[in-house]
């Protein structure tokens, strides 16, 4: 069983800002593995452990330093990492990003392709469907439980109406929710071993992708302007010093809510 997990390197939560010049998310500072992706890595490791053998490969599109994030996944137990890195790819939208990932995944021919619930930077939660369409593979999203057996992925997923059970024949694309598992922490041994695991950097041209298909040139959407959001009323923040309950009641009383 070969399992590919698509992961993303995202800026640190606190430091997120949009660069007014490029109108893109500023990716120059510190970053890390998209926290939602660790659920997908954990699930891949569990499937691998349950089936007894196999390989977990991490696939990403991002800058050079995305390898740092991928190493965290390797430390958790993934076997290898493939990073598509290309200067021309910065600013790629869904159409361009899904094309690159699909090409990289085609090369891997995995039995199962996993995604996390969303990207914590763009709040995007749609990439898997675009990738599945390009790979012409069946898709199940919002997986709260996943079992792989007899050439099928069986998924319990949550929708607006409750829980569905869906089966998809392998190879398939599955996007897991952040409630599916509790990701393991990398062990010291895992962290030490991660550096030695194969980490491949691939250029877009090696995947047969032209630079016109990447970045802003290859994107079909654009950011036109950045504006201030509609104002929200003042927010009050208090640290509990033992009197928080009284302060909450005062706050509610002022608004005639108690």
């Amino acid at each position: 069983m070969k399992i590919a997990v698509c992961v993303k390197h995202v800026p640190e939560q606190q430091a997120k800002r949009i660069d007014p010049a490029t109108k893109r998310l500023d990716r120059s500072g510190e970053g890390g593995l998209n926290p939602f992706d660790s659920n997908a890595i954990e699930e891949a490791l569990r499937v691998k452990e349950a089936t007894g053998d196999g390989e977990v490969v991490l696939v990403s599109l991002g800058p050079e330093k995305a390898l740092d994030s991928m190493r965290k996944g390797l430390a958790m137990g993934a076997d290898r990492a493939v990073l598509v890195s290309d200067d021309a790819a910065a600013g790629s939208d869904l159409v361009a990003t899904s094309l690159v990932l699909a090409k990289a995944l085609e090369r891997e021919q995995a039995d199962l392709v996993l995604f996390g619930q969303q990207a914590s930077d763009s709040d995007g939660a749609v990439l898997w469907a675009a990738v599945a369409d390009r790979l012409r593979l069946p898709l199940v999203s919002q997986a709260a439980e996943l079992t792989v057996a007899d050439g099928k992925a069986r998924v319990k997923r949550q929708t607006e109406f409750g829980y569905d059970v869906i089966e998809a024949t392998l190879p398939a694309v599955v996007a897991v929710s952040d409630a599916i598992n509790e990701p393991r922490y990398p062990s010291l041994k895992g962290i030490m071993g991660a550096k030695k695991k194969p980490q491949e950097r691939v250029g877009a041209d090696e995947l047969g992708i032209e630079s016109a298909q990447l970045g802003e040139a290859g994107s079909r959407t654009e950011v036109i302007a950045l504006n201030d959001p509609p104002a929200r009323g003042d927010t009050t923040r208090i640290e509990d010093d033992g009197s928080a309950s009284e302060k909450i009641v005062e706050f509610l009383a002022e608004r005639r809510m108690v």
Binding site: Q13, Q14, K16, R17, L94, V95, Q118, S122, D123, G124, V126, L127, A129, A130, A132, D133, R136, L137, P138, L139, V140, S141, Q142, R157, Q158, T159, E160, F161, G162, D164, V165, I166, E167, A168, A172, S177, I180, S219, R220, T221, E222, I224, L226, N227, D228, P229, R232, D234, T235, T236, R237, D240, G242, A244, S245, I248, V249, F251, L252, M257
Partner: protein, 318 residues
């Protein structure tokens, strides 16, 4: 502009979100809609009442289960054959997957999480709050067709009382679109409380530490005369019933007062409660995103604060 709106339905009724998007499209120009499913002809005809000029119907046993990929096949054909330049969706688990699949299929731009759409200098511009709503981004499309996915509750449906022409679409599914099958489909849960109409809601999240601590939330809700809600994380973990879940895949609520207890405020939760009047958040992690949209944020231990708070509220109300 020629709009095509994906009209989602569940158990014989249109999903309100998608009707809101239809109303918006009808406001901007000529809006056609598409209804996809099995045995949906009768429902489709009602689309005119909500502003559709024409309703396409893809009615096929293979389309009964609400799975995305067969719907991409239907929409692709409609857009290609009839030249729609803009396809609109209201956020849902199903619609998000259909929209993104369609964007890839048509090599079209998809803008998501939009709260508004307007015509500006002859083209369309979407409004998208980003980075925890700290910035409002104007987004556009560089080519046609355009695909857009709107945030839940972005628009209200309008019942215009019109009549739509209804026409069948021939259904031809791709091989890979039928490789995922529904084994057991969810039905709207009738048991459990209905929390949508309550003026006060107290919601609990993973920060409670265990199902036994939901008692604290229930007691505060009772003292305030409100209802109890839960996040997806605790519902999936089996701490509280699904009927009480607020968020993207649960209920969307807008009470006058929303008290969030031990809730980090992930986007999945936020979209279900962001139109609440006053939000009070109690969380021990001062960095939790919930504090960015709480009117009163309290950093502290909920196990200390809640019992006292409940007692004080009771005293005040008696």
């Amino acid at each position: 502009m020629s709009f095509l709106v994906f009209l989602e339905h569940h158990e014989g009724d249109f999903v309100k979100n998608s009707l809101g998007v239809l109303a918006k499209a009808a406001d901007l120009g000529e809006a056609d809609a598409v209804v996809i499913g099995s045995g949906v002809h009768e429902l489709a005809a009602k689309g005119g009442d909500f502003g559709a000029r024409k309703v396409w119907v893809a009615d096929d046993a293979g389309l009964e289960a609400p799975l995305p990929q067969p719907r991409v096949d239907v929409l692709e054909r409609l857009v290609r054959d009839h030249g729609y330049d803009t396809v609109l969706f209201g956020q849902s688990v199903l619609a998000a997957d259909v929209a993104a699949g369609l964007a890839a299929r048509l090599d079209a731009g998809l803008n998501w999480d939009l709260t508004d759409l307007l015509e500006q200098d002859g083209t369309l511009v979407g409004k998208r709050p980003a980075l925890q709503d700290s910035v409002l981004v104007d987004v556009g499309w560089k080519s046609e067709p355009r695909v857009a996915l709107f945030r839940s509750g972005a628009f209200d449906p309008t019942q215009a009382g019109g009549e739509a022409e209804v026409e069948d679409v021939e259904v031809e599914l791709q091989d890979f679109s039928t490789k995922a099958t529904m084994v057991e489909q969810a039905h709207a849960e009738s048991e459990g409380p209905s929390i949508e109409d309550d003026d006060v809601i107290v919601a609990g999240g993973r920060g409670l530490g265990g199902p036994e601590h939901f008692k604290l939330v229930e007691e505060l809700a009772q003292a305030l005369g409100g209802a109890v809600a839960a996040t997806r994380a605790v519902v999936d973990a089996g701490w509280y019933p699904y009927a009480a879940q607020v968020g993207q895949t649960g209920k969307t609520v807008s009470p006058k007062l929303y008290v969030a207890v031990g809730i980090s405020g992930a986007i999945q939760h936020k979209v279900g409660m962001q139109s609440s009047g006053t939000v009070v958040a109690i969380n021990k992690d001062g960095n939790a995103p919930i504090f960015e949209f709480a009117d009163l944020g309290v950093v502290g231990d909920l196990h200390e604060i809640l019992p006292k708070l409940t007692e004080l509220v009771k005293q005040r109300r008696s």
